[in-house]
Amino acid sequence: MDAADRAEQFIPAGLASFGIEADDVDLAVMSAAHQMFWPAILELLSRDLSDVAPERQPDLSRAPEAS
């Protein structure tokens, strides 16, 4: 199954799972959004960041505490 096929299934399957209704216009917008965002999301998910311990309740007004 190629990426385009997976994309075609992702949106209807996701909508059905949540019970969200969508008309043809909604689906066209969602498809465009998916093409725009999904490659970057997959790239993000593929990265091994397991050694980066997230900041606990980060204070974004300040520099991070030393890791």
Binding site: F18, L44, P54
Partner: protein, 455 residues
């Protein structure tokens, strides 16, 4: 000079000195809005009696009697925000927001509400429940978003200062498109209370849009409730990143911004250091995921089945798509945020500011907001966000400074970013750049005759 055309700080000083009657100034601003706004649709509502009452009760503060526009992102005591949309997914009601209180306590007069991109979800300003705002530099071009109305209003000299909001570049894009100075403060530093996402956002800030750095300093000091004394940005160490944010931009934007960076270096007796910022490319998706997750907080699938039909098709489809994004990606975005915050903390030991173009190309047409870049044709939203996301994701301050005019006489902006709390340094650097170019770009005027400003 007509008091309407004075910079914000000079309006305040003239009123304080008794040289300008604030009641007359208010009426003149209302008249100018009536005259010029139909062409640019920057102001979506005025409330003359409320403004007059505000003036009558105004305390003697740093903005006593000065008319200010506020984006449609906060409630006022007499008006709930609409967020540029037919409906919000969060409850709203009239009330005293943080920016309202800050302005009121400084003696300012809120003269109207500024248009904005629908739901804050666009960098162009061409979609809004009120209709698109238009760029005073070219009425067929985007004014930038999401703070479209505040920027267009200041550029057209309806007001000398406006309050915008920036969750993913929404002050800096319109500042750049409209030839203004726009400050995205350090996260948490500027008044935000009353915003419908105030309790959950980790990205959105309020901030000023004005002609120049000195006016931004004054308005920011009001929003911060603290002084931001001017200093000298001497010996500035300017970090230049070789990445898509600085290289996948139109040739005119690249040349103009590189020249401005060199001017800033020379003006401050500083230096330009080429630096690396690994994972910068991941900031964009991480910031988008973060703001998506926050903006959908409390939204149920059933709620998405009851959307107002007057919401734009893009908003409806995009809201539903956002509901499908995987939680694992949001968590991964959190790790990217941590990683980039740590990288920036190390980087800001070696440089004082990072510099790259605010926008990769000049304002695109309203009816087709696409930009031509070395990598090809992209939507303006796609192209713009990658240069802005880092500051929102990590919390650092950023400023857009006008540095030239490109094709079609449209403005170009340079973005400077500093370490957390470095807002005043950014204003100092912006002021140094203004002096270096003899204020040529902060004093450049759009062709106002086309918007009813012939008199």
């Amino acid at each position: 000079m007509n008091a309407l055309d004075l910079p914000l700080r000079e309006q305040a000083a003239a009123i304080a000195a008794g040289d300008v009657d604030p009641a007359e100034l208010l009426e003149a601003v209302l008249d100018r809005i009536a005259e010029r706004n139909p062409a640019i649709n920057a102001v979506v509502e005025t409330f003359p009696e409320r403004s007059r009452e505000m003036l009558a009760a105004a305390p003697d503060g740093p903005l006593y009697g000065v008319p200010i526009l506020i984006k449609d992102e906060w409630p006022l005591p007499w008006r709930a925000q609409r967020f540029g949309a037919a409906e919000l997914l969060a409850p709203t009601a009239p009330g005293e927001s943080g920016p309202y209180r800050a302005l009121r306590d400084a003696g300012a007069v809120i003269v109207g509400v500024g248009n904005m991109h629908e739901l804050g979800a666009g960098s162009t300003g061409n979609v809004s429940v009120y209709g698109a705002a238009r760029n005073p530099w070219d009425l067929e071009r985007c004014p930038g978003g999401s703070s479209s109305g505040p920027a267009a209003a200041v550029a057209a000299r309806l007001v000398a200062g406006a309050v915008g909001a920036d969750g993913l570049g929404s002050i800096r894009f319109p500042a750049a498109y409209c030839g203004l100075t726009g400050l995205k403060p350090t996260f948490g530093r500027a008044a935000l209370a009353g915003h419908h996402m105030a309790a959950i956002t980790s990205l959105i800030v309020s901030g000023p849009l004005c002609a120049d750095a000195a006016d931004c300093r004054l308005l920011a000091s009001v929003l911060f409730a603290e002084d931001l004394p001017a200093g000298e940005a001497g010996g500035l160490r300017i970090g230049a990143v070789r990445d898509a944010v600085s290289e996948d931009v139109s040739p005119e934007v690249r040349a103009t911004c590189e020249a401005a960076i060199d001017e800033l270096r020379a003006a401050t007796g500083g230096e330009v250091r080429e630096v690396e910022l690994a994972d910068l490319g991941s900031a964009t998706m991480a910031a988008i995921l973060a703001i998506n997750a926050e903006s959908l907080s409390g939204v149920t699938p059933q709620r998405l089945n009851e959307l107002d039909p007057e919401l734009s098709p893009i908003a409806r489809g995009f809201l539903k798509y956002r509901m499908l994004l995987p939680a694992a990606a949001v968590m991964q975005a959190g790790r990217v945020r941590t990683l980039l915050r740590r990288r920036l903390a190390a980087l800001f030991a070696d440089v004082d500011v990072l510099a790259w173009p605010t926008i990769p190309a000049v304002a695109p047409p309203l009816d087709a907001p696409l930009v031509e870049l070395p990598s090809g044709t992209q939507t303006a939203d796609q192209a713009n966000v990658r240069g802005a996301a880092l500051a929102n994701l990590t919390g650092i301050p950023a400023i857009s400074v006008p540095v030239g005019l490109g094709s079609g006489g449209l403005p170009i902006g340079l973005q400077l970013q500093a370490a957390w709390g470095g807002d005043a340094l950014l204003l100092d650097a912006a002021a140094a750049l203004e002096r270096a170019n003899e204020r040529r770009w902060v004093e450049a005027q759009p062709p106002l005759a086309g918007i009813g400003a012939g008199a």
